[in-house]
């Protein structure tokens, strides 16, 4: 029978980074992915903060499509708020080729010693009474058992592993963004800014984005809160937006993709012999929907804790809880705060958003982040803070 210290289910960014750091710590690691090709299909807007540079997790530049000049946020009446690289100390973000990005992260895991099996789907957990002993998987027509001490659920927003282990993972529709995106080429439009269009006029509970890829090519996408959506509404609204855009409507659509982004509070991310990482752990920013940076940060922590667990040959919840303790310290507070801001923003109608945008349209932002935007809004509207503080305290209590 196959026997590993760790089996990582899913070769997205969170899974690959976990596998890499676990392997570097000396663990014997197997990564499985149900897809025949890592990174495909892409299910992502492909924007990421440039903070990833300082983490040295990727080599080369083939996974970078473009560097952003900043962000322009448009309120429903067209008022523009700009976060430019000049204001933000030159650090903004990249637009990625997510398929190549994912492959590079998986390659780093492989280089560190992790084995990779493609077209391999987890079919069930192997349990002995209540204890996880391994996982059953299927590759083509063969079904086989894999013995392992730790399973890492890196199987995305639709994670089944945690649910098999008895954890509650079903998302409320109000905690999920439902997304569609075109990649459009030959657009006669020159901007290296990311553009965001907010408000119910465009996308109830979400936003429309335009991300600049290579020359003349843009990712144009939409995310709607599932609780505010109806059958096929994201794609209909996106088509309407493009049809009314003077340049985009003349471009050539090369790719259509769908996506689902958790905008939830993080859930418990460990139990005996099991860790949850990435979207499966709901590690995505509830305001922006961005999940790459938190997946990389969380993956690294998970991999290192797994290394310690393998050294000590202790795989119980107590040992693995160190993972949760550390990610809560690193980015848990940010996710919780942004969840509260997301809830607050849901109550804002388009008129309010126009007023807010107008109040910060000349603001000099010091950082390319949602935090600097929230800080600016709060400085102009102290009553927002009065609404935020009690919500945040309540939310912290519920999370403890």
């Amino acid at each position: 029978m196959l026997d590993y210290d760790v089996v990582v289910v899913g070769c997205g960014p969170a899974g690959s980074v976990t596998a890499r750091y676990a392997a570097e710590s000396g663990a014997k690691v197997l990564m499985i992915d149900r897809r025949p090709e890592i990174g495909v299909p892409v299910l992502c807007g492909e924007g990421v903060s440039q903070r990833i540079d300082s983490w040295n997790m990727l080599e080369g530049t083939q996974w970078i499509a473009n560097k952003m000049d900043g962000a322009k946020i448009f309120s429903p009446d067209g008022t523009m708020v700009t976060l430019s690289k000049e204001m933000a100390g030159n650090e903004t973000g990249y637009v990625l080729y997510r398929d190549l990005f994912d492959k590079e992260l998986a390659r780093q895991a492989g280089k560190a010693g992790a084995e990779i099996m493609l077209r391999t789907e987890a079919t069930k957990l192997l349990m002995d009474n209540d204890e996880i002993k391994g996982i059953q998987a299927r590759q083509f027509n063969e079904t086989f058992d894999i013995e392992t001490d730790i399973i890492v659920a890196a199987d995305g927003v639709e994670s089944k592993i945690a649910s098999w282990a008895g954890m509650k993972t079903v998302l409320k529709p109000s905690d999920l963004e439902t997304c569609a995106q075109y990649t459009i080429t030959d657009v006669d439009y020159k901007s290296d800014y990311c553009e965001f269009y907010v408000g119910r006029k465009y996308a109830p509970g979400g936003y429309i984005w335009i991300f600049p890829k290579e020359k003349g090519t843009y990712n144009v996408g939409i995310g709607l809160l599932a609780s505010l959506s109806s059958q096929g509404e994201p794609l209909k609204r996106l088509d309407k937006f493009i049809a009314s855009h003077p340049q985009l409507k003349k471009g050539c659509p090369m790719r259509l993709l769908a996506g689902a982004v958790p905008v939830a509070k993080p859930i418990q991310s460990y139990r005996d012999n099991l860790l949850l990482v990435g979207d499966a752990a709901r590690h995505a920013d509830p305001i922006t929907g961005g999940g790459i940076t938190t997946s990389l940060q969380g993956g690294k922590i998970a991999g290192e804790i797994i290394g310690e667990a393998v050294d000590a040959q202790v795989f119980d919840a107590d040992m693995l809880s160190q993972y949760e303790k550390q990610w809560k310290q690193d980015f848990g507070q940010k996710l919780l705060r942004n969840y509260v801001v997301k809830e607050l923003m849901l109550d804002m109608d388009d008129k309010t958003l126009n007023l807010l945008a107008d109040s910060v349209k000349d603001y000099k932002f010091e950082e390319f982040s949602t935090l600097s935007l929230v800080k600016a809004l709060v400085s102009k509207h102290p009553t927002l803070l009065m609404k935020l503080t009690p919500l945040l305290q309540l939310s912290k209590k519920m999370n403890e």
Partner: protein, 62 residues
Amino acid sequence: MGKPSARVDESQCLSCGGCVSVCPQEAIVLRNLKAVVNKEKCTACEICIKTCPIGAIHLERM
């Protein structure tokens, strides 16, 4: 007429997994990268239908 349940048009599904993550009955799985509904478990609550970004899920009677 039998009880209604959700059905995914597999030729339309882009495998985002959104419907899987919100189904309160956990009646949907991705199989071969396509969403598939377990009709026995489905209660026709229509949450998946509202969630699918491209409108690939419909209600049908068994």
